[in-house]
């Protein structure tokens, strides 16, 4: 559906996107993850034809970007970050303007589509309100209706849930999942749980480069296999604790973390992939007079991968 090859964007000397290559299959929900300033928005802006890439190629349904920009734009629905809309217009006027620009000119069809979108995005009660009076969540929904106007094959959403309250986030997510059953959706976020809950595939970007690209399930499995354990102890100092764990001969790699309390030691232990070493650690520590404050297996797999990948490159 979408092929991105060696996409690069420079702002003067600053490289915002550095040779990104991606391919998105039809019907896939792709999450573009990355810390702030990683290049997510720039990538999406190039994909939607708003920015011209410094170099690289974009192909959408075998159509090349600069030559067929108008056709490609017609295939896509795009919701920019924080949904910038015309503040002085009424929601209805705005949406019918968008409909006309997107080629939905027949008044009857236009009205029918506006009704469908109003139901889908929950806009029925606010159609005749000026956009400037709407809350952020409502504006976001108008933006979403804008993006879905012509029922496009590809939907691109830039941080669709940023700045919304938990209820609104849940609503927007359910809309995305609903659309994602039939459409190709690409959305960017820096909220991991969101990507985990919504996406089929996750691409992590850091400093303009792709640092991970896999299905959500496989990324999670990969992280869980690392068998990461967090241990917090009261009693020993960091050095003694690390030495103690190393002496267990279980092939553990131990790294110290910043403790929550001053009188504690907190470490991260990477165990062998095929064995849960928590019982061994517990039994060994039982022999001492140290107190175990925490002994947990890492379950927030994506968060860990994200932190690891985005920190390694800083």
């Amino acid at each position: 559906m979408i092929e991105i090859q060696d996409l690069t964007k420079y702002y003067n000397d600053f490289c915002a996107v550095d040779h990104i290559s991606l391919s998105v299959r039809p019907g896939e929900i792709l999450g573009l993850l990355g810390p702030n300033g990683a290049g997510k928005t720039t990538t999406l802006r190039m994909l939607t034809g708003y920015f011209k890439p410094t170099s690289g190629q974009i192909l959408v349904k075998d159509l090349h970007m600069p030559e067929h920009t108008l056709t490609i734009k017609a295939l896509m629905g795009y919701l920019p970050e924080s949904a910038p809309l015309y503040h002085n217009m009424l929601v209805y006027d705005y949406l019918s303007y968008v409909a006309r620009l997107k080629g939905l000119k027949d008044p009857a069809r236009q009205l029918e589509r506006l009704h469908t979108l109003a139901d889908l995005c929950g806009l029925s009660g606010i159609m005749h309100k000026p956009i400037v009076t709407l809350s952020k969540g409502l504006k976001q929904r108008v933006g979403l209706a804008h993006a879905m106007m012509t029922d496009p094959e590809i939907l691109i959403l830039d941080e669709p849930t940023s700045g919304l309250d938990p209820n609104q986030i849940a609503e927007i997510r359910s809309i995305i999942r609903q659309i994602g059953q039939r459409k190709t959706v690409i959305f960017s976020t820096h909220i991991l749980s969101e990507a985990e809950a919504t996406c089929d595939r996750i691409v992590i970007i850091n400093k303009g480069k792709v640092v991970a690209d896999d299905t959500t399930t496989r990324l999670k499995q990969g992280a869980l296999q690392n068998n990461l354990i967090r241990l917090a102890l009261k009693g020993p100092d960091v050095k003694t604790a690390c030495q103690f764990l190393a002496d267990m001969n279980l092939n553990l790699s131990v790294s110290a973390l910043t403790p929550d309390m001053e009188d504690q030691v907190r470490v991260e232990i990477q165990g062998p992939p095929d064995r849960d070493v928590r019982s061994d650690i517990y039994l060994k520590i039982k022999e001492t007079d140290w107190i175990i404050m925490e002994l947990t297996k890492e379950t927030q797999a994506l968060e860990h991968i994200f932190q690891k990948l985005t920190r390694e490159n800083t």
Binding site: G49, T71, M76, P84, H87, Y97, L101
Partner: protein, 234 residues
């Protein structure tokens, strides 16, 4: 073509949604009406020559005020991104906005049609120069709107867009009153650049292709420059 029409109609309606249209039209009529009629009865001449002589100067302040928001506001609010990612090209956007602004400036002139009607009642008015003057005013409005649009495309700050627009329009307006500062060899060339000279021909009732061509060139040059700026900024 239809994309241009949709954008133009939206932008034109936009003027009337906010108070801008009403304030600008009222202010325009007060300024023009005052300056024109304050001397009209002294000369007791039944023509609109003084009214048309005022227009280039008045337009060079009013038109940039109307066009300053066209791009600058969109860029500032961010809706420019929403607009550009819809199936429209730079040409559609630039032309749509240009036609909206020109149409609005012409709308601003509509109430002034009462002047010739009123004058024809009290004196023997020659309608030729009046018709010529209004045709010229449309060309002048178009040219200044293209300049204002270009100024607006340069920046996201409306005030800067207004100042740049004013500076350019004002220069074109007063350039032929500055001729005595210029070396005599280039006076003719500089004079040709001034909008005032060309507009004055229209208001005498002369429809000269040179004048029409001048305004069309001015419009084309600034619309093309707007297009270049839009491309360059992306």
């Amino acid at each position: 073509m239809s994309q241009i029409k949709i954008i133009a109609l939206k932008e034109f309606k936009d003027y009337f949604i906010s108070p801008i249209a009403y304030i600008v039209i009222a202010l325009f009529l007060i300024v023009v009406g005052w300056f024109f009629f304050s001397t009209f009865f002294i000369y007791s001449r039944a023509d609109l020559r003084d009214f048309f002589a005022l227009l280039p100067m008045v337009f060079s302040f009013f038109v940039p005020a109307l066009t300053m928001r066209l791009f600058a506001e969109e860029k500032n609010v961010g809706s420019y991104e929403t607009l550009l990612t819809m199936p429209v090209s730079f040409v559609h956007i630039a032309l749509g906005k240009f036609f909206a602004a020109t149409l609005f400036t012409c709308t601003m002139l509509v109430p002034t049609l009462s002047y010739p009607i009123f004058i024809s009642l009290i004196g023997d008015l020659d309608w030729g120069p009046v018709a010529g003057g209004y045709i010229g005013a449309v060309f002048l409005a178009g040219a200044y709107c293209a300049i204002g649009l270009f100024a607006s495309a340069l920046t996201r700050n409306q005030i800067i867009a207004f100042i740049i627009g004013c500076a350019l329009c004002f220069t074109l307006t007063i350039i032929n009153r500055m001729l005595f500062f210029m070396p005599s060899e280039i006076v003719a060339v500089i004079e040709y650049f001034g909008a005032n000279t060309h507009f004055a021909n229209f208001s005498k009732g002369i429809l000269d292709t040179r004048d029409i061509l001048y305004f069309i060139s001015l419009i084309s040059i600034f619309l093309f420059s707007t297009h270049l700026v839009m491309q360059e900024k992306n």
